[in-house]
């Protein structure tokens, strides 16, 4: 079953547009949603949560239409917005007591287990939590109401490397039983190298590619060679940087001719993100 099925979503703002956004997340997997700042990640997430009115398109969660079953589905969605805080002056205890009333399947036992595991003190105020702790608290809330789909907007931004690693291990553990699926947006691509199964890449409001992580990377090649070699492939390149030795750039794997003698390697996600963002402009380094 698809945990998340987004088809042909369009939304026009005065200065920005989501164009024909489609991607699917299979139940029990982690999907990394990457793109630079302003690419449309948060807008897409807000569209999924029905916080933005989409102009056209369909959003299905766990097999049901979000437009028709919003309340029922929100019972099954957990969320964490890494960059936004709510009621920071309130104690965790007060916030939890208020939030839990909204959820039919709330389980106090699960909640206290996670609170213990994450070493979260209920008497602390939200403002006193570190960024990582806040994300963990959001996860504890989501898991205590039995969320099947976790939508996390930049949960790892602002975390130190150890906390990031810890959180990524936790994500993998959560999906291990196959019930929970995670969509998480980030611009820190190394996080996805570690834990994502699928990657969806958005640039300028359009999905560039969505697919299994390794296939995603294999769809592109990072090529480098001399300036004379650049002339052979210049027109096929997504973008490239030149320097005194020659050039380095990104090309679609099926546009590349292996007999050209140009060195090619599988790019990292970061390479793909950077070169795609620079599409249409040449960089002289």
């Amino acid at each position: 079953m698809q945990a998340l099925d987004i088809r042909n979503v369009n939304k026009k703002f005065p200065s920005f547009e989501l164009k024909d956004v489609s991607f699917q997340l299979e139940k029990g997997y982690i999907m990394g949603f990457i793109g630079v700042n302003g690419a449309g990640k948060t807008t897409t997430i807000k569209s999924i949560l029905n916080m933005t009115h989409i102009d056209s398109g369909e959003i299905h969660i766990l097999g049901k239409s979000m437009a028709e079953h919003e309340l029922e589905l929100k019972q099954e969605i957990g969320f964490a917005f890494g960059s936004i805080d709510f009621y920071t002056r309130s104690k965790i205890k007060t916030l939890t007591d208020t939030i839990k009333k909204f959820y039919q399947n709330w389980d106090d036992q699960i909640y206290s287990n996670y609170m213990r595991r994450f070493k979260l003190d209920e008497n602390k105020k939200i403002a006193d939590l570190s960024t990582g702790m806040k994300v963990k608290y959001s996860l504890a809330l989501a898991l205590s109401h039995g969320a099947k789909l976790l939508i996390l907007d930049e949960p790892t931004s602002g975390l130190d490397p150890a906390s990031r690693d810890d959180l990524l291990d936790l994500f993998q553990e959560l999906i291990a039983e196959g019930e929970v699926s995670i969509l998480f947006s980030t611009h820190i691509t190394s996080d996805l190298e570690k834990c994502a199964d699928f990657i969806t890449f958005i640039a300028n409001g359009q999905i560039v590619l969505s697919g299994e992580k390794e296939e995603f990377k294999e769809a592109y090649l990072l090529v480098n060679g001399s300036k004379s070699q650049l002339e052979q492939v210049k027109d096929q390149m997504i973008s490239y940087k030149t320097n005194s030795f020659g050039f380095t750039g990104l090309i679609q794997a099926n546009d590349f001719d292996p007999s050209s003698g140009i060195k090619a390697a599988t790019p990292s996600l970061e390479d793909i993100l950077i070169y795609y963002t620079k599409k249409g402009e040449n960089i002289h380094g």
């Binding site: 807000k46 949560l49 916080m51 933005t52 009115h53 919003e70 309340l71 029922e72 929100k74 019972q75 969320f79 917005f81 936004i84 805080d85 709510f86 009621y87 920071t88 002056r89 309130s90 007060t94 916030l95 007591d97 208020t98 939030i99 009333k101 909204f102 959820y103």
Partner: protein, 218 residues
């Protein structure tokens, strides 16, 4: 809905504003004061503080992620506002009636705190709600202009009715009179005030919902 009201009271509204009706209500014991001000303090103090808190704590985003309808989000908030308004009026009314017994020989320049006066207070709050609530729900987070317009409207209503109450002899008899038929008329004005308050607030709710359904949650 009940959960949303509980959320506002536990997280959104500072406890001070829950006891505010008692604090401002105590001002009813100032002999012969302009008692409209007692009720207007709600518009001047409670509303801006409450909405500032809601905005700074990202309440709109927080609430939108809960499994609740947009309609209920508006309805619950209006219940909280109207509930606080009624608390202010009820406390002021009780204290006002005591105040009248405390100073039986006082000559009131401004409206005496009788039932008729509180009918006017409810009409004033109805005007406040009708301007504030629909204007606020155009964005559901900007409240400055809505607050300015609604407080000006409510204050104007208070000023004009007070002026008419002093200057117009018929109106003066109705609102200042202490004989039996004046008191009966004043009780009737209070009932009319309650009806107006409920009807106008319900209208404000309907307009607000229509507008809020169009809002993009920021």
């Amino acid at each position: 809905m009940v959960n949303l009201i509980r959320k506002d009271i536990r997280l959104g509204v500072h406890p001070l504003f829950l006891i505010m009706p008692l604090l401002t209500g105590a001002l009813m014991f100032i002999p012969g004061w302009i008692y409209f001000i007692v009720i207007l303090y709600f518009c001047w103090i409670t509303i801006p503080n409450m909405f500032n808190q809601l905005r700074s704590q990202n309440d709109l985003m927080f609430t939108s992620m809960m499994p609740v309808t947009k309609r209920d989000i508006v309805k619950a908030r209006i219940f909280v506002i109207a509930g606080l308004e009624l608390a202010h009026v009820v406390v002021a009314l009780v204290f006002g009636l005591i105040s009248q017994r405390l100073y039986p020989d006082l000559t009131y320049v401004f409206f005496p705190p009788n039932l008729g006066f509180f009918g006017l207070c409810l009409a004033m709050l109805a005007i406040f709600n009708l301007v504030f609530i629909p204007m606020y729900y155009k964005t559901a987070y900007k409240f400055g202009m809505a607050l300015l317009a609604s407080t000006v409207a409510a204050t104007l209503f208070a000023g004009i009715t007070q002026w008419v109450g002093i200057a117009h002899s018929g109106m003066n008899r109705i609102f200042y009179g202490t004989e039996a038929n004046s008191v009966a008329l004043q009780a009737f004005i209070l009932i009319a005030g309650i009806v107006i308050f409920l009807a106008i607030t319900a209208l404000a709710y309907r307009i607000a919902v229509k507008r809020f359904l169009q809002v993009e949650i920021q």
